[in-house]
């Protein structure tokens, strides 16, 4: 089944990305660049898992919005609180 | 009502300190800003409240059913899909009106806030007398500790009446809120954080500082004296002051310590205050 093949490819990609994250840390890039790359890779991995393993890409879009609203809520708290520090 | 009248007098500067002029980024103390703004809000709030509530009660009485002809052609029917009634325009107008009032008030309040947040004014010349006195206030269960620039600590705040006083407030244990109601001052005392407030002490005398955040069993009694001294007397006291050994939030012991420490002349000068 094509699905199994797709799932396997995604699995391999996830595996490689996880390794890459640790590798990036070892490469002594600038701190900010490293943070950007590492978090960026995490986001890509999360989207892959949510989109394919949790089937969000094929579910009604409204389900994705529910998830995103939870995410947005958490981000609002995190960023506004951290920004408020004097 | 009498409260309102009193506030009106105060607001429009009759016999009170002149009302602050807005829109000039000048520093202002909370005791200039708060009574002014509070009375404006109170007067407008009362007016709006009276108008809206009277209208509501009027409508309630005016359209009271006489119990006879309830059913009308356009009465809602059981099981109908909900719909709205008309009168959207009236709603929009009312909303706009209230929005204008609220936004105008809040914008005005915001400009005043800038004055308060700006800190004490930079005064040109004579820095020796006009430079603000900076005192650190540390809340600790259940007393207020004051740390002066010379490192001395005390449990009663003594300040001169001839220069601004800037307080940096923090806490050594739990969250407190430091407030001197007489000067409309209040700020949180937070562990590992500093907040600042400032004021211009004027009349000599003794006022009280309170805790405004529940901080434990002693919260209700967590007060401290704030003594506003004549400038010269303050300088004399400050030059000779030493640290209080222990927290003495208790008024009487503090008075005794004060009396013993002070030279006779100064004591006479300030006796009325204590």
């Amino acid at each position: 089944m094509a699905n199994t093949k797709l799932y396997t490819v995604i699995y391999v990609v996830l595996f490689v990305f996880a390794t890459a994250q640790v590798a990036i840390e070892g490469m002594s890039l600038g701190f900010e660049l490293a943070v950007g790359l590492i978090i960026g890779l995490s986001v890509v991995k999360a989207v892959l898992v949510a989109g394919y393993y949790q089937h969000l890409f094929t579910e009604p879009r409204s389900v994705t919005y529910v998830v995103l609203s939870g995410l947005l809520t958490a981000l609002a708290l995190t960023f506004a609180a951290s920004y408020s520090i004097t | 009502m009498s409260v309102l009248v009193g506030l009106t007098v105060q607001t429009f500067g009759i016999g009170a300190s002149p009302a602050p002029v807005i829109l000039q980024g000048q520093s202002r103390t909370m005791d200039e800003v708060f009574p002014h703004l509070f009375s404006i809000f109170l007067i407008l709030g009362t007016l709006v409240g009276i108008v809206v509530l009277s209208y509501m009660v009027y409508v309630g009485v005016r359209y009271r059913s006489d119990g006879t002809t309830d059913e009308r052609a356009d009465s809602p029917q059981l099981g109908e899909l909900p719909e709205g009634g008309g009168d959207g325009r009236k709603l929009a107008v009312s909303l706009t009106l209230s929005a204008i009032i609220v936004i105008a008030l809040i914008s005005y309040a915001w400009f005043l806030l800038l004055g308060v947040e700006g800190g004490p004014p930079e005064v040109s010349g004579e820095p020796s007398t006009d430079e603000p006195l900076s005192v650190t206030v540390v809340g600790e269960q259940f007393s207020w500790k004051y740390i002066y620039p010379n490192g001395n600590t005390a449990y009663t705040l003594r300040v001169p009446n001839d220069r601004p006083v800037a307080l940096t407030v923090t806490s050594s244990d739990v969250m407190h809120t430091y407030g001197i109601p007489e000067y409309d001052l209040k700020t949180d005392a937070i562990p590992a954080q500093n907040t600042t407030i400032w004021f211009n002490p004027n009349e000599t005398g003794t006022v009280e500082a309170h805790c405004y955040e529940l901080c434990g069993t002693g919260h209700s009694e967590m007060t401290s004296e704030v003594i506003i001294m004549d400038g010269a007397a303050f300088d004399g006291w400050y030059a000779q002051s030493t640290s209080d050994a222990t927290p003495t939030p208790n008024e009487s012991t503090d008075k005794v310590a004060y009396a013993i420490d002070r030279p006779q002349s100064e004591l006479a000068d300030n006796y009325v205050l204590v």
Partner: protein, 831 residues
């Protein structure tokens, strides 16, 4: 039998004695215990067993209302204790600590255990009726919510007997709330009780959201929902996210108290501010969570008793929607006096004012609805009218607090106390109106009208006498018993008002109680001009609510014959899963059992650090919880989804899956708040100065590999289930189990290694955040493994071959746990 049954019950007279059909009672040969748990049919109302086992939304609603009223009495007595203390300006009645406990528990009880549950009693009862559903989507979970609520309340009551209850105010500011300053076990119990309550709320939120989005009668689009239902829908959405943030705060606080982490006390980090952020991020939406149901009920009563449709109904709904969204962006207005910066203060001042304007619109809308109406000042309408009246005062005085400069001085004083009581108790007034409004529907009898009106006037007078003097005496600092002597008179007036208000409440309760017997029987629609569906069916309604399938497709409510439903393109058609018109279950012993287990477990946890009796309690509670959860899982409990319904915007997925997703959304907020706490503390500490706890990232990386692989296995198990390969399913799940265990072992080794290097949970804030956040994740892994362990034997029996949905739902959860790790790994191991 469902059809026969409902027609039977429809015929039951609304005689107040309730439907007491001769139901198939178990034979006397069965043991008493067995008989108790037998639940083939719902026992009659008169039997205690019915109330312990019922999962029916109407029964649960009634239970909520009654329990909430009991907590009202509890919280009210605490309030009166305070008012007696405040008769004099010095402390002479309660001890200082006693006063603090009274203040704190009064707030907690009223906000959490009275107000919301009272409203949700009506929501339980009325919302399914208004949308045309037979019950909630997950009836057993609904019963579970109720029992968790009740037992969490019992737990907070017990806290008084454990060396004193919580004494840090309902806002629970840290670090006063940590054991250094508040060592009593009872304070831990209070926090755990609240945690249990939050779990109840979360379960409830998932349930209501699924129900309201997917089980509306055909033709009842979201826009057409009655206003009470609208208010509940928005309330529940807010609850889902806001309570998740509170849960994070409570878990962290519990950990600081029980495990010794140092989130709120560590040197060099703004721990105290962290609490205020977490708490108020929940706390402000909570204001609307508490008030919205009251607003919705007010709108219903205004329409019914003015005989007019709500003016600007659409804008009323838009206003509520705006408020619900924006409620998450105003929390820092509770923190104007803290060290937050000026830009943030300005921003939050603007959002705060922004959120007040929709309320203006709603108030005007209610007022204009009365114009040209035929107002019938019945008891419910008096309460609704009075509620709007005092709400306007509460609203105006709230604008004062939105102006930052005024807030500077008003904060921490009785101005705030008076303001929020004017708002909150205005909500209570509306809900008491709602109690009178729906009382005939709930009981089939009318309350005593004269007593009702008397109770209103006493209520209204008591209310204003209690709270208005507080505005005048606003200079009194909050939560003190020692206030300026010149304000004594005002406080004495308030005390008199407090007793009057308390008496009015008792009168309301008495009236409702007596009228169960004395009230005159009522028809299905005792209030003329009520339009919503609950008034179209008998009072009280039969077990399955409707004589047929309710539908609005013709433009107004019809009851169609269930068997001959035809649909047009607008709605989704699905045959009922079992092929016949389902026999729905209405009773289960497990919700009660799970709640008792949780109760014992939490009671044990409260003192587990001190040893003694608490250790066996923890173990017994844990065991009981495990057994009852297993019982819950194994029970066959049938619920049919309506064949045809309005399901926007979730038409494409079934109830169960939507429920899982909604739960996961709240779990995102929970983890988000943990990660947010970490980011906040780290930002306050200095991002780069912060040292990562693990010595090297390799164990973390290995665990990443393990979790990714396990996710892949779950996916394969699902594919196998879809293809009907039993051994594929078993293999996939078993591998997942083994990998999960490997993950935990690897983590265990890592932790032991850290402990060996003397890095403990309490070492420093870096270690605290590391252990607690990854520990919460580990707990999610453990929970997942428990589910897998339950599924494997069933898979062996071929359970998931016909219906692979459980595997899919488990996968959703497991992948989520995986995704969380994808972020925890870089945050705690690399950066």
């Amino acid at each position: 039998m469902s059809d026969d049954r409902s027609t039977d019950e429809t015929a039951v007279q609304p005689d107040g004695g309730h439907a007491s059909q001769p139901l198939a009672e178990p034979t006397s040969k069965q043991s008493a215990l067995r008989r108790f748990f037998t639940r083939d049919d719902l026992p009659p109302y008169g039997a205690l067993r019915r109330w312990l086992l019922t999962t029916n939304h109407k029964d649960v609603g009634v239970l909520y209302v009654i329990t909430a009223l009991l907590f009202l009495v509890f919280g009210g007595v605490l309030a009166l204790l305070m008012r007696v203390e405040l008769l004099t300006p010095v402390g002479d009645f309660l001890s200082a600590d006693g006063y603090n406990q009274t203040v704190s528990t009064h707030g907690l009880i009223m906000v959490f255990w009275f107000l919301s549950p009272f409203a949700f009693g009506f929501a339980n009862y009325i919302v399914p009726l208004q949308i045309g559903a037979k019950d909630l989507a997950f009836p057993r979970l609904n019963a579970l919510s109720y029992w968790l609520y009740l037992f969490s309340g019992i737990l907070i009551g017990l806290s008084f007997f454990q060396g004193g209850s919580f004494s840090g105010g309902w806002t629970m500011y840290a670090p006063l709330s940590v054991p250094n300053y508040m060592p009593q076990i009872g304070s831990t119990t209070t926090i755990l009780a609240l945690t249990l309550f939050v779990i109840s709320v979360t379960v409830s939120s998932v349930n209501f959201l699924t129900t309201m989005h997917r089980m509306r009668a055909p033709g009842l689009t979201l826009r057409r929902m009655p206003l009470f239902t609208w208010s509940i829908l928005l309330t529940v959405w807010m609850m889902l996210f806001a309570f998740a943030a509170l849960l994070a705060a409570l878990l962290i606080l519990s950990s600081d108290r029980i495990l010794g982490t140092t989130y709120f006390t560590a040197e060099g980090t703004p721990g105290s501010l962290l609490w205020t952020h977490l708490f108020w991020f929940f706390g402000h939406p909570e204001v609307y969570i508490v008030f919205f149901p009251a607003l919705g009920a007010m709108a219903e009563m205004f329409q019914t008793f003015t005989g007019r449709r709500l003016v600007g109904r659409k804008w009323f709904i838009v206003s509520m929607l705006l408020v619900a969204l924006q409620s998450f962006l105003v929390w820092m207005h509770h923190m104007f006096l803290t060290s937050i910066n000026l830009q943030i203060k300005t921003l939050f001042m603007i959002t705060t004012i922004g959120i007040s304007l929709p309320f203006d619109l709603m108030v005007f809308s209610l007022i204009y609805t009365m114009v040209k109406g035929r107002l019938r000042f019945t008891t419910p309408f008096l309460f609704a009218f009075g509620s709007l009246f005092v709400f306007i005062i509460g609203g105006i005085t709230g604008v004062f607090l939105g102006a930052v400069v005024l807030d500077y001085q008003l904060r921490g004083t009785y101005w705030v106390v008076a303001h929020f009581h004017y708002v909150m108790v205005s909500g209570v007034m509306a809900l008491v109106g709602a109690l009178y409004y729906w009382y005939p529907k709930l009981t089939g009898r009318m309350f005593n009208r004269r007593l009702g009106k008397l109770s209103f006037w006493l209520f209204f007078a008591g209310f204003n006498l209690l709270y208005f003097p507080m505005f005048i005496a606003w200079e009194t600092p909050r939560r003190v018993f020692d206030y300026p002597a010149e304000l004594t008179g005002f406080h004495q007036l308030a005390t008199v008002g407090g007793f009057l208000l308390g008496f009015a409440f008792l009168l309301v309760i008495w009236n409702c109680y007596r009228s169960l017997w004395d009230g005159e029987p009522v028809s299905s629609n005792p209030w003329a001009h009520a339009t919503t569906a609950e008034w179209a069916i008998p009072s009280p309604p039969p077990l399955e609510n409707y004589p047929g399938m309710p539908s609005y497709e013709s433009g107004s409510l019809d009851f169609l014959d269930r068997d001959s439903v035809t649909t047009d393109g607008g709605t989704v058609t699905k045959p009922t899963p079992s092929g016949h018109d389902g026999h729905d279950s209405h009773a289960s012993p497990w919700p009660l059992g799970i709640s008792i287990g949780s109760f014992v477990l939490f009671l044990g946890l409260s003192g587990v650090a001190t040893g003694g009796i608490y250790v066996p309690l923890t173990i017994i509670g844990g065991g009981l919880l495990a057994v009852t959860l297993l019982g819950f899982g194994m029970e066959s409990f049938s619920v049919t989804e309506p064949a045809v319904a309005e399901r926007w915007p979730f038409a494409g997925i079934e109830n169960g899956k939507l429920g899982v997703w909604i739960f996961l959304a709240s779990d995102i907020v929970l983890f988000g708040a943990f990660v947010g706490s970490y980011a906040f503390l780290r930002a306050g500490y200095g991002w780069q100065a912060w040292e990562i706890v693990p010595h090297n990232p390799i164990p973390g990386l290995i665990n990443t590999y393990i979790l990714l692989t396990s996710s892949f296995c779950v996916v394969l198990a699902l594919v196998a289930a879809q293809k009907g390969r039993r051994w594929g399913v078993v293999a996939g799940l078993t591998t997942t189990l083994l990998l999960g265990i490997a993950f935990l072992i690897n983590k265990g080794i890592e932790w032991v290694e850290l402990f060996h290097h003397n890095v403990w949970l309490s070492t420093d804030v870096q270690a605290s955040t590391f252990f607690l956040t990854t520990g919460l994740h580990g707990l999610h892994v453990v929970l997942g493994l428990v589910i897998v362990l339950y599924m494997i034997p069933r898979a062996l029996n071929g359970a998931y071959l016909d219906d692979e949905r459980p595997v899919e739902y488990f996968g959703l959860y497991w992948h989520f746990v995986d995704i969380v790790w994808l972020f925890l790994f870089p945050l705690f191991y690399i950066l």
